[in-house]
Assembly symmetry: C2
Homo-oligomer: 197 residues x 2
């Protein structure tokens, strides 16, 4: 390969999750064969995303303002919080159109073996919201694996004393499965059939 | 989704070949969670590739100089030209270590139904090389599908009058298959067993 900068671009694509060497090469050649505007737009989108997008002060979701559109939306039920691992999960939950409350992003789940102890998660800000915002219900939409279940158990114990209803997504999410890959119908079903803890 | 620029980045990833909406979302969130240096490097690699990499004046391969490293390499056999569709194919051929000649990139194959007529391909520059550089052999390393075979037939007819040996990659490349996906051993076998036309 005689073009060093092409090699660099292949390496950059190769660093992305799920992109192997062959795919990275395909993508780099696609870029080489695109017009300059396309490449400029792509590079700009990368930078803008990093510089202009921050996190919502309330729920931790990605947002371009101090608070996100969902937290700002006064037609939503601000007394019901859905707790998720990641802001990606919000996209899937929103797509079902079955949830009209607000969200709280934990930023992971309790996994002591991976060094994720409760103090590493956005639990303190969740407790603050519950005490100051008069929350009626907290719905856990976490992966149904060991770490997810552990996190639900831990947080349930923590939240119960506040007199808040605590629930979690029910049937539909396969055991050991990840919310990210569940389809809309499954997520909708799980929202409707959530079990009260 | 409340962050417009995140949506834009997802759209940009989604435009890449083989990247669906879910993968694009994964990649965009990966970018959001990377540090600024990583994103800067990626954006720079995209732009550099487009601005600094041009095409070799001789063979059409990507290069950062007027002529590519392969054409500049005086230890290689400049009397044997391997004709490929795309510069990506060169990477795979070079990996076999079995070819020490130079290349010529056609930039596609004859496909009249897709509007690719012979005049759209780098055939004129190939003929020029054959007349001026005293070429001994031309090896076709094209996909063994209908368009590839048509291109080989067309070019063989064109090149034979120059008294040059014309050959094509032999057994190994499965019919209807694409060179890009062939493994090194298969390509090496095909190089060794090329049939003289």
């Amino acid at each position: 390969m005689s073009a060093k900068h092409l090699e660099i671009l292949i390496d950059e694509f190769n660093k992305l999750p799920g992109i192997g060497r062959k795919s990275a090469t395909r993508l780099a050649f696609y870029i080489m064969n695109s017009n300059e505007k396309t490449v400029e737009d792509f590079a700009k989108a990368l930078k803008d995303c990093k510089t202009l997008v921050k996190k919502c002060k309330v729920c931790g979701n990605f947002s371009e303002n101090d608070t996100c559109d969902i937290c700002d939306d006064m037609t939503r039920d601000h007394k019901t919080i859905c707790v998720v691992e990641d802001s990606r999960d919000i996209i899937n939950l929103e797509k079902t159109g079955k949830f009209n409350g607000v969200y709280h992003i934990l930023n992971g789940k309790i996994a002591p073996l991976d060094g994720v102890t409760p103090d590493k998660l956005n639990i303190k800000s969740l407790l603050e919201r519950i005490t100051t915002d008069d929350i009626k219900e907290v719905i856990f939409a976490l992966s149904s694996d060991l770490e997810g279940e552990t996190t639900v158990l831990y947080l349930t114990k923590l939240l119960k004393p506040f007199g808040v209803t605590v629930s979690k997504l029910a049937s539909g999410i396969p055991m050991g499965g990840n919310i990210e890959y569940a389809d809309n119908a499954t997520i909708a079903k799980a929202l409707e059939g959530r079990e009260i803890l």
